[in-house]
Amino acid sequence: MSIIVNGKEVEYKNNESVSDLLKRMHYTFPLIVVKINGLLIKKNLYATSIVPDDSDIQVVHMISGG
């Protein structure tokens, strides 16, 4: 039972939300983009979206400047 977060294998936790996973991974940047198995997770759904077992999660943080 494991998931992949930014290319690294991480322990899967039953019923874990995206918010909880971000906390567990210490991703504290306020502005991020999260994709699970290729699908973008809307920010307002982080607290209610559950991370499935075996999933591939990508997290990128957005930095101001352009």
């Binding site: 983009v33 994709k35 990128v60 957005m62 930095i63 101001s64 400047g65 352009g66």
Partner: protein, 198 residues
């Protein structure tokens, strides 16, 4: 010069549309690179005017200070290639509707400034136009460290990324790094339009 390849590229790009959100350091330079490469149509959206401080990195000139960026960029593009189609849209993008100007784009470039706006834009495009590839940028401030830049691919979202860069609020914006990332985005866009260079 491989003229057969050049001709094939010109023919393909001529029929393509690239949408660019933001006409600042990233957007103005990416637009110019794509126009020079031969992209047939550019849609450019911005609300801002050219300021003196923009001249350090954006594709504008001293005598253009005070003018709206989108219309000025259109003029600058037409000084290079008068036949490139440019849809210049003066607009502040609003969360929930940020995808609307870009419906006909083959590829979209995120060239916005503020991290919150960037994140909102990525969400709107990926939710409303999930089949249109999106090329974003994160970490344009500072100088040097060119080798830290990488392309992060999250399916059809490509991020030109310097994870260790500071926010522009706490750092400087200078032409070499900003233009490097703008051209990096343009180069990804070309690859998406043409297929991988083999």
């Amino acid at each position: 010069m491989n003229e057969t390849k050049q001709k094939r590229i010109q023919e393909t790009l001529q029929s393509k549309t690239v949408g660019i959100a933001g006409a600042g350091g990233l957007g103005s330079n990416a637009a110019i690179a794509l126009v020079r490469a031969g992209v047939g149509k550019i849609i450019i959206v911005d609300f801002d005017v050219v300021e003196q401080s923009n001249l350090s990195r954006q594709y504008y000139f001293l005598d253009q200070i005070g003018a709206k960026k989108v219309f000025t960029l259109k003029k600058n593009i037409h000084r290079i290639y008068p036949n490139t189609q440019v849809e210049a849209i003066e607009l502040t993008l609003e969360k929930g509707r940020m995808h609307e100007p870009f419906l006909s784009s083959d590829v979209i470039i995120e060239a916005l400034d503020d991290a919150q706006t960037k994140t909102n834009f990525i969400e709107d495009i990926q939710v409303h136009l999930p089949n249109t590839p999106l090329v974003a940028a994160s970490g344009v401030a500072g100088y040097g460290h060119s080798d830290r830049i990488e392309t992060k691919r999250l399916d059809n979202l490509y991020i030109c990324y310097d994870e260790q860069a500071e926010s522009s609020e706490n750092d400087v914006l200078l032409a070499p790094k900003v233009c490097l990332m703008a051209n990096w985005q343009a180069n990804i866009a070309l690859e998406l339009l043409l297929g991988e260079d083999e």
